[in-house]
């Protein structure tokens, strides 16, 4: 297995401001994450769903240790990376790309400069700091931008691009890393339905064509059902479900989102009141993506 996660846990000793929402949502438990285990094989498309504050973001950020997990083991490519020191962690991180809800581009730089940031992990401190890239790297960056359909915008400043374009620059940046795994944190939460679909299509194509493993946090359940090989349900920092899209029945979804006041807002699909009438997965996909707008 490419990625194996065992008993992953994260707790904040003192209540930290940034994760206050998470603590509150988990009804007083100070643990953002506890006992989460799963594996991900090459080229798999996995989505993580769950109410806001369930620990989806924390889980993703623990995988590349942007957040340090407090318990558990992360094995990547047959190697325990849970306690790697900084220098070697850098080398691991360049194989684990990440895509963000807010795109996180450096807005003053051009699209192509942002794509080239994906190479920083491969460069020495000086060349990387000064932005001295090789001709091969620059050529590859152009090819990747071309591939996501933004070649003409290579010299545009990032803040002049639309949301969907920014996210595709983000994808090109992560491809620049030659990653084995892509972690996508709510990649379409700020996008309109059309751009959302485009981004999701791109991500699925990458898993098929390049064999990159995608782990995607989503709160649009319909998209999760449509694109995923496997769905993981997270609630209050614990894994409460794992299965294929077909196994993710409305009853399952309801149980994942149970007790969450925001469920009505978060789940775009109308829940049938009559119990025991299973709805086909395809039916969800056919629904318009009303959850796209926040």
């Amino acid at each position: 297995m490419l990625l194996e996660v065992q008993d992953l846990g994260k707790s904040y000793d003192a209540p930290r401001r940034r994760n206050k929402a998470a603590t509150d949502a988990t009804s007083g438990t100070p643990r953002a994450l506890s006992g989460v285990s799963f594996t991900a094989g090459q080229g798999e498309f996995i989505t993580v769903i769950g109410p806001s504050g369930a620990g989806k973001s924390t889980l993703l950020r623990c995988l590349n240790r942007l957040i340090e997990p407090t318990d558990g083991v992360i094995n990547f490519n047959g190697r325990d990376i849970t306690h790697l020191p900084n220098g070697r962690l850098r080398k691991v991180r360049r194989e684990i790309a990440m895509i963000f809800q807010n795109y996180n581009l450096v807005y003053r730089l051009t699209a192509i400069q942002n794509v080239l940031h994906g190479r920083l992990g491969y460069k020495n401190a000086l060349a990387g700091s000064l932005g001295l890239y090789t001709e091969d790297e620059k050529a590859r960056a152009f090819e990747l931008l071309d591939e996501v359909g933004l070649g003409e915008f290579a010299y545009r400043r990032a803040d002049q691009l639309s949301g969907g374009q920014k996210q595709r620059v983000g994808i090109a940046r992560s491809l620049m890393q030659d990653p084995k795994v892509m972690l996508c944190d709510e990649p379409i939460a700020s996008l309109d339905p059309k751009s959302s679909r485009m981004v999701m299509e791109t991500l699925r194509r990458l898993t098929r064509e390049r064999g990159i493993t995608c782990i995607v946090n989503l709160h649009q359940v319909d998209f999760a059902l449509e694109y995923s090989d496997r769905i993981i349900g997270l609630r209050a920092g614990e894994k409460v479900f794992e299965g294929t899209a077909d196994e993710t029945t409305p009853a399952v979804i309801r149980s994942i989102y149970e007790g969450d006041a925001e469920v009505m807002v978060d789940v775009p699909v109308e829940m049938p009141e009559a119990a025991g009438s299973p709805i086909e997965a395809g039916a969800f996909a056919a629904e318009p993506a009303t959850g796209g707008a926040q």
């Binding site: 590349n64 942007l66 684990i96 963000f100 581009l105 940031h117 920083l120 992990g121 940046r173």
Partner: protein, 281 residues
Amino acid sequence: MSAEAQALQGAPGNGRARTVDLAWFRRRQIRTILGVVAVVVAFQLCSMVCNFSLTYAIGSVPAAFVWMFQNFIPTAESLANFSLVLEQTISTALDSVAATVIAAIVGIVLSVLGSSTIGVSFAPVRGLIRAIASIFRNIPMIAWALLLLLSFKQNEFTGFLALFLTTFGQLTRFFLDTFDEIPTGPIEALKSCGASYWQIVFQAGLPLAVADLMSWMLYMVETNIRSATLIGLLTGTGIGFVFNLYYTSFRYDTAGLVIVVTIVFVLVIEAVSNVARRSMI
């Protein structure tokens, strides 16, 4: 103000809502009156402490302006000193630029390391940098000027050093605020790409902050010309020195010329830096 919130939410829909509402308005009125009274009392107290008479001050403003226009208007005679005034003003302006640039070089290193977004992860170092900036910023200019005068004696370099030391504290604070406010997302993104500390600083931190940093630098150049006047007065250099020279020898027309030249210089520098600022966004 939580009382207001309570009053507003206090009685939703029942008959007492109107009276509660009125009470809220009355309370606001009382608070406003109390505020005004407090300011008036404080004003009176302060006037007593420093022996200040408001009526005398206000009454003397028109006369002061008349006197000023009679005495401080440059005459043909004072134009004879124009070249000296101009030369000293230029040197003051240049000192302001140099002090700002050198202070910016030191300040940028400290503020990068001390900021909450891209600073070093060891918190005491960040705290120390903030403390240093705060102390340097708040040590009075007079103290710096007099201290340096003892060792470096009376010359332009002394004025420059005093200016540099006060600028350094202020600029570092402005820079720290700027770096604290840059978005953390791109920094996280570069971290996730495997970028090292200095790569993040140069590829995300500086590009995200550069427009604001430059804006603060230009602002410091403008204010430094004014500060340099006081420092010049103490260290015997620049416009401060020339002004004092003519002022103490009662040649107010030439002192007025100094003021006019200063106005022109500051306005021109302000206009130029506004153009530069706008083109940087």
